[in-house]
Symmetry: C2
Subunit: 133 residues, 2 copies
DNA sequence: TACATGGTGTTATATTATAACAATTTAAAT
DNA sequence: ATTTAAATTGTTATAATATAACACCATGTA
């Protein structure tokens, strides 16, 4: 896990899309993003997906794989872009990024049967949030 | 009353599709499955997706969320249908189900900041497999 | 019998994502 | 400052993934 943190200056499209996701209280889907930024001149899916790809790559956002949705990173300035953990409420779909030093250490150090270590992982927990219980 | 440990007798379509996935050395995608079972009379995507949904539900297969692909469960007769962990080689795309008592215990007992426990999770590790290193 | 449940077959459509190509902007290296 | 490579953009078209809706059928059971 790289800890150096290069400052990426976002391009116009990237900034527009990041701002939207960052403001959103819940993960956003690509076509919902598209709909929301059309008034700003972003008209095609590819423009959205390209910005999303880049934002994921530099760790500003994460993809919630099981939901095909994107959420802004709120985890220590995105230092763990490739080692993510989320909790997902199966009723209200609330998604929260988990920042647990213990968990990330455990997973970063996990070795499989072949002694293989993995620096990248994505973990999604499912359950009921406080409200929905 | 709920029958405990019901032995799920697979229906014809479910069996056909499970057999195909089970024989496959790699995760299979839905439309690849469809292509492969058309000669057996399964002609429409929905027939595939319905079988897949059921097979996932009863733990015979798992979905690799980051790849939109399905793999047969080889983990203690599917007792951990909802608590899955995989390693994925980013070069050759080989996917292996991880069965580590330590890992599953750690995750099953993991509590987030609110003390929330999760019985279901999906974890995907990314890296390079032995061959690809 | 009737009824509930779950599976099937089918057509159509929704949703998610990428290919291909030309033009433009940006950063940096002469 | 000018050149140049890399990244980004805009655009049209299309590929890949997944579900809606509806009619019908099989099976278990009240």
């Amino acid at each position: 896990m790289k800890t150096m943190h290069k400052e990426h200056t976002l391009t116009k499209n990237q900034q527009i899309i990041f701002d939207l996701i960052d403001k959103s209280p819940e993960p956003m889907k690509a076509y919902s993003i598209l709909f929301n930024v059309q008034k700003k001149g972003i008209k095609a899916p590819l423009q959205v997906y390209r910005a999303l790809d880049k934002l994921v790559e530099i760790g500003k956002i994460h993809k919630i794989e099981s939901r095909n949705a994107f959420i802004a990173c709120h985890n220590s300035s995105c230092q763990v872009a490739n080692a993510t953990a989320f909790s997902i409420c199966e009723v209200c779909e609330k998604v929260t990024e988990i920042s647990s030093v213990g968990l990330s250490k455990y997973l970063a150090n996990f070795k499989d049967k072949d002694g293989m270590k993995y620096s990248k992982y994505n973990l999604e927990f499912f359950g009921l949030c406080k409200k929905c219980r």
